[in-house]
């Protein structure tokens, strides 16, 4: 666990960076400095992150899987599936038909594959390939298309493939209707199956290349190893045998040492496991493992957590890469924040292999899609491993079947404290006096991007996403200001 530096007794100054680019939504970073210009605390404010639960209240439970898709433009499918799992419980369904279960898994693998591909190829790889201090104008997808067009196009094709799966199963690119209480509402046709199957070998190959590239970059750049590195607990779902599991499993948590804190925990009891701390400066809560307490119980979720947490990956190529990853950790867990990217591509490879396996399964084109509803229940809790980490959807309904109470813990919330810790580590190392530089800004962004936070699916309406950096002292005076591309 990272030890938080004790604040200097003298009045701290505040550095504010607002908002963060290349991260979904609006974000602002405040860096609290002590008198010696050391960063003693980082506060990552996410200003758009609110209102989810209220948004859902009062709606019929059957609508929820479709309504919650609108929360996020990047992982609508994850929200739909987590909500669908909760709704299955509300209608008393425990087990889906084999076809419905596999279609949901296929949908989820497609979603994770396209999200991970977007992240690595289009967001992270320019930083990793060109260097954090390289020209901002170059360090983006346009620069990547110029310098490494083949690599960039593989990212385009991987995204496209993942979205083809989503479109085939849900019928639409966005807001498709796929899940129903107790199953799915549309079968996958043989023609759709064959089209997807025809492209999957290439997809697996591109993922293998991406894993190899990540490993090469990470091993070759020693400075990446401790960049924003923190020691943390890890939380994720795992399967019954301790394997990597993205759709359904039990909760497992490991301490930074690798010791298992809990395992096979039924996620429907998550309320006994987690608490969410509220801090006055943040809209976003700070979850922690109750057994470890507020101070030490924070944890990380997402690819780094999942690949560290599991005992094996149930597809051969990804499992081989997981072993290499763990070898890099020399027997311990891998805590390098930038190793998120490496782990993310191992998962992408697992998704591609799993997609191939599912498409070859005769159940996938079956027609038995729904099981009869059972006794209605008042509460349903669905948990899934979304691309960015464990996603909790918890609903309580009234006698009319309307949502009375909802609680969502999204992965960005789970990573809240961890992102602040990583930012503090990076800022303390790279902030020089009271001068804000593009270099510092991008180093902070690189740390945030490793977690790939989805900052609530903000609107993108034109003119609403400026990038400003401000250095503000405690008297509210702006000491320095930076806009994207130079001084204001």
């Amino acid at each position: 666990m990272t030890q938080q530096q004790k604040p200097d007794s003298s009045t701290p100054r505040r550095v504010t960076i607002d908002p963060v680019s290349r991260v979904e939504g609006h974000g602002r970073i405040s860096l609290l400095l002590d008198a010696n210009n050391h960063v003693h605390e980082a506060r990552f404010h996410i200003v758009e992150f609110r209102g989810f639960e209220k948004f859902i209240q009062g709606r019929p439970y059957r609508e929820v899987p479709f309504v919650v898709q609108r929360l996020c433009g990047i992982c609508p499918v994850s929200h739909q599936l987590a909500a669908a799992k909760a709704v299955d419980q509300l209608v008393g369904v425990e087990v889906l038909t084999p076809t419905a279960f596999k279609l949901r898994r296929l949908l989820h693998f497609g979603q994770v594959l396209q999200s991970h591909s977007l992240h690595f190829f289009h967001l992270a790889s320019p930083d990793l390939l060109f260097g954090f201090g390289s020209d901002v104008a170059q360090r983006n997808i346009a620069g990547l298309l110029e310098s490494s067009p083949e690599l960039a196009m593989k990212g385009v094709r991987l995204r496209k493939y993942g979205q083809q799966i989503i479109e085939a199963i849900t019928g639409k690119r966005i807001h498709g209707v796929a899940t129903v209480p107790g199953g799915m509402n549309k079968a996958l046709t043989m023609a759709q199956r064959d089209t997807l199957l025809a492209g999957v070998k290439d997809v697996i190959g591109w993922c293998q290349e991406a894993v190899a590239l990540n490993e090469q970059i990470h091993r070759a750049h020693a400075e990446n190893h401790d960049f924003g590195a923190i020691q943390s607990n890890f939380l994720s779902l795992t399967g019954d045998g301790g394997e990597l599991e993205l759709y359904h499993g039990g909760l497992r948590a490991r301490a930074a040492s690798g010791d298992i804190i809990l395992d096979g925990f039924d996620y429907r009891g998550y309320g006994e496991l987690l608490r969410e701390e509220v801090r006055p400066w943040s809209y976003m809560k700070f979850p922690f493992l109750l057994s470890l307490g507020q101070k030490s119980g924070w944890y990380r979720v997402g690819p780094l957590s999942r690949v560290n947490n599991c005992d094996m990956i149930p597809t051969p190529l990804a499992e081989e890469q997981r072993r290499r990853f763990r070898d890099y950790g020399q027997g311990g867990l891998v805590h390098d924040t930038l190793a998120y990217h490496w782990a993310r591509m191992i998962e992408a490879l697992h998704c591609a292999e799993s997609i191939e396996r599912l498409l070859a399964d005769t159940d996938i084109t079956g027609s038995e899609l729904v099981v009869p509803e059972g006794q209605r229940r008042r509460e349903g809790i669905g948990v899934i491993e979304a691309p960015r980490g464990t996603l909790f959807h918890h609903y309580r309904i009234d006698d009319e079947g309307l949502i009375e109470k909802a609680n969502l813990i999204v992965s960005t919330t789970s990573n809240n404290q961890a992102m602040n810790e990583s930012l503090r580590a990076v800022a303390d190392r790279y902030l020089d006096g009271q001068t804000l530089t593009e270099g510092l800004l991008n180093h902070l962004e690189v740390a945030i991007r490793a977690y790939d936070p989805c900052l609530s699916c903000a609107t993108h309406a034109l003119g609403r996403m400026p990038l400003q950096v401000e250095l503000v002292d405690t008297a509210g005076q702006i000491v320095d200001r930076l806009t994207k591309g130079g001084k204001a």
């Binding site: 609508p76 977007l118 967001l123 346009a142 298309l145 067009p149 989805c454 609530s456 309406a461 003119g463």
Partner: protein, 174 residues
Amino acid sequence: MGGMLVFGYGNPGRGDDALGPAFVERLARENPDAADNAEYLSDMQLQVEHVTDLCGRQLLLFVDADAACQPPFQLSRIHAERDTSYTSHAMTPQALLYAFCQVYGRKAPPALLLRIRGYGFDLGESLDARADTNLREALALASRLGVADAQRWQQSACGHDDAIIAGRGSAEDG
């Protein structure tokens, strides 16, 4: 493919951010016969893989909500531009056109951007009444120009790069 691509983007769950997809949805619903000459697409935001949707089009019409343009809407011709506006999960249409040039090594199809003025962007909100009025004005423009008549849309843009057509009235005035 071919003909005209009408691409509305925005988050339908965030109030007036839905204007782009709503434009496409209503246009398609009210003009089913235009489907032979135009394709309608909607998405939450533009991303680089959308370059593959632009191939072979006679004209691209991007439709988005705008929090600051003159109401009810503005229609502009746009060009490929390399800019620094790339965010994690959204590209500008100009940047998408630029990516098209990079990917395919040729000029992107001619493109217009229809910006419809929105006012509220909060999660879970429906369209603001003024935004809805603006949307109807924009749809009326589409009817005047011919829904899938790429030639007329292009002619209307001839020689103008910015705000070639602005709506006739302001919802705020009305």
